[in-house]
């Protein structure tokens, strides 16, 4: 039952947390170019 609770409630929160983390860590890179393969 613990496994079920983890995937039903913790996993979605972790995914949303990852989204916020990526939002923060890519902040500076947002201004750089991605044109022609350079990211």
């Amino acid at each position: 039952m613990l496994g079920a609770r983890l995937v039903l409630f913790l996993l979605p929160l972790l995914i949303i947390g990852l989204a916020f983390l990526l939002y923060v860590v890519t902040r500076e890179r947002g201004k750089k170019g991605g044109f022609d393969g350079d990211v």
């Binding site: 609770r5 995937v7 039903l8 979605p12 989204a19 990526l22 947002g30 991605g34 393969g37």
Partner: protein, 485 residues
């Protein structure tokens, strides 16, 4: 019980019909914003991050989420979360690491389609990549659209108790009217409305269900008594778990999802779109899983469901739980889910015909004016829609056979190609062509002959095969870039 018996209630039927016809109003409202072919195909690269986020999520989901995932959770239990976790994670990374550079590159090249981008990126004057891409999109996406038209019409025919051909015609008219008026902008705003309708259903539904059943603990205990494997997240087995997660590998190659990123008004805003889209995706995905679990607890035996079909558990619970207003809205929401994918895919098929095939390959004479391009795009949407409807009616077996390969075929053909085109400078035109063909062919061959014996989902094999083909052929061929061939 009848699948849609509650639609006999006039209030439910009215709400259902209003939900169905709402897109036409949005088409009228967006008509004035659509002034050029760029507006018609990618919203003039002026779409707000919220619209892009919800549209990317909504158009990627289709009825598979509402009916398929809830059915999967009904059968497999909590292990169904892996099926939604895979694509949600893939799309989170896509928004930021694929969407941003693609949006910047497509503006630089003035590309309106994915194939436009490939051709400019590799200075492909012979249109090799474009022609291969047109064939792949033409086959897989047309089959996708036709299959969804067929599935939507079948459900509509049952819901309204009308002939299938009439239901197909109604579905076609409902979509084509607003698409012709507002093009991409109408499609994207409709996606937003549908995302809201879907989320009302997929949030209210589980909350109400938990209250009825006595909470999450009570639900898990009922499931445990039915079968302990239902609450074991890994009971589905390692192969199925990898296969479920592997569904996400198809996302970066879906042209109708990727084009959303190209339409945002500022590439930097795809970071916030990633957060919005992921939250929405999580709520929708987990909502569908919870509905399946609740359905299993309420109706433990599939033979007690209409047509003994686990995918109809959503309809059974909706009828059981809600009054006519919410029921009408939720059933309308299922059609919304189907239509939000059909219109996005149909627009890609139309853009492939008008832009990739006619304007760039077949037409030899001078430039057309924006007004002519826009008018032509509108006619092609009507033409492509009619072709898809005719195919949906006349070649049902072929359509349902082809659509089995559609998600994987598009994912393996375009996903690796797009990632390497954006991130690996040594990628060549020949490499991309080889990767597209390899991806599509491996998906078909693997699914047809080897998926059964090996138990491996076709994208798990085809995606890396396409990556290797692109890298291998690129290393063997000269770089064709910026005009140097």
């Amino acid at each position: 019980m009848e699948t849609y018996e509650k639609l006999a209630d006039p209030v439910a039927l009215t709400i259902f019909l209003l939900t169905l016809s709402l897109p036409i109003l949005i088409g009228i409202l967006t008509l004035r914003r659509t002034r050029s072919q760029s507006d018609f195909l990618i919203g003039g690269r002026a779409m707000d991050k919220l619209v892009v986020a919800l549209s990317a999520v909504s158009s990627g989901r289709s009825s598979w989420l509402v009916l398929g995932v809830s059915g999967m959770a009904y059968v497999s239990g909590v292990g169904a979360v892996w099926a939604v976790a895979g694509y949600i994670l893939a799309e989170l990374f896509q928004f930021i690491f694929l969407g941003r550079p693609l949006r910047q590159a497509t503006e630089g090249y003035d590309s309106l389609t994915l194939l436009d981008y490939f051709e400019s990126r590799f200075a492909d004057r012979r249109h090799l990549i474009r022609i291969i891409g047109v064939v792949i999109i033409g086959i897989f996406l047309t089959a996708y659209v036709a299959a969804q038209f067929n599935a939507g019409a079948k459900a509509l025919s049952t819901a309204l108790n009308v002939d299938l051909l009439l239901a197909l015609a109604i579905s076609g008219v409902l979509i084509l009217v607003y698409m012709v008026m507002g093009g991409y902008i109408a499609v994207a705003y409709n996606d937003v409305v549908r995302a809201v309708i879907m989320i009302i259903g997929l949030v209210l539904f589980p909350i109400y269900g938990f209250v009825r059943i006595g909470g999450v603990r009570a639900l898990l205990e009922v499931l445990n008594q039915l079968n302990p494997a239902l609450i074991d997240p890994v009971s589905i087995g390692f192969g199925a778990l990898i296969g479920f997660l592997g569904i996400g590998l198809g996302s970066p190659g879906q042209p109708h999802i990727v084009v959303r990123y190209m339409s945002v008004n500022d590439p930097a805003r795809l970071r916030s779109a990633a957060v919005i889209g992921t939250i929405w995706n999580v709520i929708l995905g987990w909502g569908a899983v919870f509905i399946g679990l609740l359905g299993r607890a309420v109706v433990p035996l599939a033979e007690n469901l209409p047509e003994a079909d686990p995918e109809l558990v959503f309809l059974v619970l909706a009828s059981d739980y809600f009054g006519p207003i919410l029921y009408g809205l939720l059933i309308g929401g299922i059609f919304a889910a189907i239509l939000s994918t059909v219109d996005s895919q149909l627009l890609v098929v139309a853009s492939t015909v008008v832009r990739d095939l006619y304007e760039k390959v077949l037409r030899r004479r001078g430039e057309m004016s924006e007004a002519v391009k826009l008018r032509l795009s509108r006619w092609v949407v009507i033409g492509a829609g009619l072709v898809a409807l005719i195919v949906a009616w006349t070649a049902q077996d072929l359509v349902f056979w082809l659509v089995l390969f559609a998600w994987g075929g598009l994912g393996a053909a375009f996903g690796p190609a797009l990632i390497l085109a954006l991130y690996w400078k040594r990628t060549t035109r020949a490499g991309i062509a080889a990767g597209m063909i390899t991806g599509a062919v491996v998906v078909i061959v693997w699914k047809q002959f080897l998926a059964g014996p090996t138990g491996l989902y076709e994208l798990i094999v085809a995606f890396p095969a396409a990556l290797f083909a692109i890298v291998g052929v690129s290393l063997l061929t000269r770089r064709a870039r910026n005009g140097e061939v």
